[in-house]
C-alpha cells in the first residue's frame, strides 16, 4: 500500500484580522472563523493529485489538537482523503504553553509516531502555519525520521524511488532530488486546492476518523517555549495624501528619500 500522510492544522481563517485580548494573555478566538491552514490544504491537494495519477493508493490526513479539529478533518475527507487521524491533546491538560499550543518539536514527535504506524512513502505538510508562523515542523520531522526534506515545494515529480522537487528559495527556484520516503513542505504555487462539493461532504461523514491520544503514541507534551505576553504591533503614524506625481516627487525630495 503506497500511502501519503498529510498534516492538517486548524487555524484562524486567513481573512480574519485577529485581536489581542485586552489583558495581553492571548488572542481573542471566541466566535472566530476557523479553517484548514492554507498551506495544508495545498498539501492535501497535492496528495490527492498523486493518488489520482495512480502513484499512491491511500491519502491519510492527521491533525493534532482538541476535538474541534474534527471539523477540519471532515473537510479534508470531503476534499478526498481516505481516512483521518485525530491525535487528541485535550487529555494532556489543555494547550501546553498557553495560547501557543503544542511546540513544533512535540508535533514532529507525534508525526514520527504516526509515520511509524502508517509507513507512508511521502509526508506532505504546509511550509508554515499562518497562526504561529513557526515554519519548523517539516524539517524537524525529517531530522527525527532521518529522511530527506524538500521544503517550500512548488513542483513535485515522482520518479521511481525518488522525487524531483522544485523549491521556491530566496535566490529563485532550486531543484533537489530526494530519495523516498521523504518529507515535503508546500509553497503557495504548488497547486490550487479544489472546492468541496456538497455530496462529498455527505460522503465524508461515512469515512473513518480515528482518535488517538498523545500518550498512546508515547509522546509527552513538554513545553519549553512559554508565552509571556501578547501585544499588537506598533502602529504606524497616519500619513499624508498628495494629489499628483509632482507633489509626490516634491515630498520625496523634501524628505531626502530620492
Amino acid at each position: 500500500m503506497k500511502r501519503v500522510l498529510v498534516g492538517i492544522k486548524r487555524v484562524v481563517d486567513y481573512n480574519v484580522r485577529v485581536r489581542v485580548k485586552p489583558d495581553g494573555s492571548g488572542i481573542a478566538l471566541d466566535g472566530v472563523k476557523m479553517s484548514i491552514n492554507p498551506f495544508d490544504e495545498i498539501a492535501l491537494e497535492e496528495a490527492l493529485r498523486i493518488k489520482e495519477r495512480g502513484a499512491a493508493d491511500e491519502v491519510v490526513v492527521a491533525s493534532v489538537g482538541n476535538a474541534d479539529c474534527q471539523q477540519q478533518l471532515r473537510t479534508a475527507l470531503a476534499m478526498g482523503a481516505d481516512r483521518a487521524l485525530l491525535v487528541d491533546t485535550a487529555s494532556a491538560g489543555g494547550a501546553p504553553g498557553g495560547d501557543l499550543g503544542l511546540e513544533p518539536l512535540t508535533l514532529a514527535r507525534v508525526l514520527l509516531a504516526l509515520v511509524q504506524r502508517e509507513q507512508p512513502f511521502m509526508v506532505i505538510l504546509g511550509k508554515q502555519a499562518i497562526d504561529d508562523d513557526n515554519s519548523q515542523t517539516g524539517p524537524m520531522l525529517a531530522a527525527l525520521w532521518d529522511r530527506p526534506q524538500a521544503t517550500f515545494a512548488s513542483k513535485i515529480e515522482l520518479a521511481g524511488e525518488k522525487a524531483i522537487v522544485t523549491r521556491e528559495v530566496d535566490q529563485g527556484l532550486e531543484t533537489l532530488e530526494v530519495g523516498l520516503p521523504a518529507v515535503f513542505t508546500t509553497d503557495l504555487r504548488l497547486n490550487e486546492p479544489r472546492y468541496v462539493k456538497l455530496p462529498d461532504i455527505m460522503k465524508a461523514k461515512r469515512k473513518p476518523l480515528d482518535t488517538l491520544s498523545l500518550s498512546s503514541l508515547g509522546v509527552s507534551s513538554r513545553a519549553r517555549v512559554k508565552a509571556v505576553r501578547f501585544e499588537p504591533p506598533p502602529q504606524r503614524q497616519k500619513g499624508i495624501r498628495v494629489k499628483d506625481a509632482a507633489e509626490l516627487a516634491a515630498a520625496l525630495k523634501q524628505k531626502g528619500l530620492v
Binding site: 519548523q136 520531522l141 531530522a143 526534506q149 527556484l173 519549553r224 509571556v228 505576553r229 530620492v258
Partner: protein
Amino acid sequence: MAGALVVAEHDGTTLSPSTSRCVTCASAIAGAQVTVAVCAADAGAVAAQAAELKGVETVLKVEQAANAHPIAAVLAPQLAQLAQLAGGYSHVLGPSTTFGRDLMPRLAALLDAPQVSDIMAVESPTRFKRPIYAGNVVVTVDVVDAPIIVGTVRTASYAGAPGGGSARIESASVGTAAAAHTRFVSVSASKTDRPDLQSARRVISGGRALGSAEGFQLLYRLADKLGAAVGASRAAVDAGYVPNEMQVGQTGKIIAPELYIAVGISGAIQHLTGIKDAKTIVAINKDAEAPIFEVADIGLVGDLFEIVPQLEKLLS
C-alpha cells in the same frame, strides 16, 4: 560560558547581508561571545568577510566537498556536532530566510532544542519577541529547561553589523559523511543588475494592477532611475508577471528599506507584514479605499500608468 553560534548564509564566494544582521542579534544576547560558522567546500573567502564583522570573536570554517550547496540534511548534522563541542553554545542562530528556515529546524531537532522563529528582539538570553499571525500580534516568549536555544532571526528587525572587526579564523573538523539521499540538481536565479531585494535601501513593488509582465517594465525603468530593487505582491507572482523570488510578504520576503513604493498593490495583511519595517511607505493606487493607504506615509490616488512615467521624468 555563553556562546552564540551564527550559521553563515552565503553563495560560496560572498557572505549574505542576512548573516551580518544575525550577528547584530547575537550581540544583543548579554554575555554571549559570537562565533560564525561557515559551511562550504572552500570557506576561505566567506570566512574572511565574516571575520570583518564587528562583534564576531571567532569564525569557524567547516569545509567539506558536500557543503558546496546548502542542503539542510547535509549541514545540520555537522552543525549539531559543532554546537555540542567542548565549551558549547547557549544559542545557535540563523537568518529567517529560506536558507535558515530550511536548515535551523532540522538542526534544532538533532539537538533536541526548542526553536524560536523570527526573533525581532532579544529581551534577555532566554526571553524573545517574535511576530505571529502575519505580524498582527507580537508575542514575548520565555524559553525554559533548554541548554541550547535555536533561533531564526527576523533580519528586517536588525541592521547589519558594522565592519572593521578582526575575528580569529579557525578550521573546525566535524566528521560527517554526506547525506546520500539528497542531491542538489540546480538553482535558477534570474540575473539582475538591480540591488538585492532583501538589503536594498529603496524598493518599488507592483501588484496585479500592473496587468502583465510588460506592465512591470514601467517599474523597472523607475527603479533604475532610483537605484531601487523591484518587488511584487503575491497576486502579481501568481499571475506570472514576475518570478517567485520577487514576492514580498508573510510567505515571501520580509524587508525593511528606507523607501518602499507600492504601486497598484491593495495591501492584504499578508503583504503588509512584509513591509512593516520600511521607514517610509508610499502607495500609488486607483482605489482610495485600498488598505495600503492605512499604512502609507504618503498616499497618491490615481492611475499608475500615468503616474509612474511622470514620476520617472520628475525624479530624473
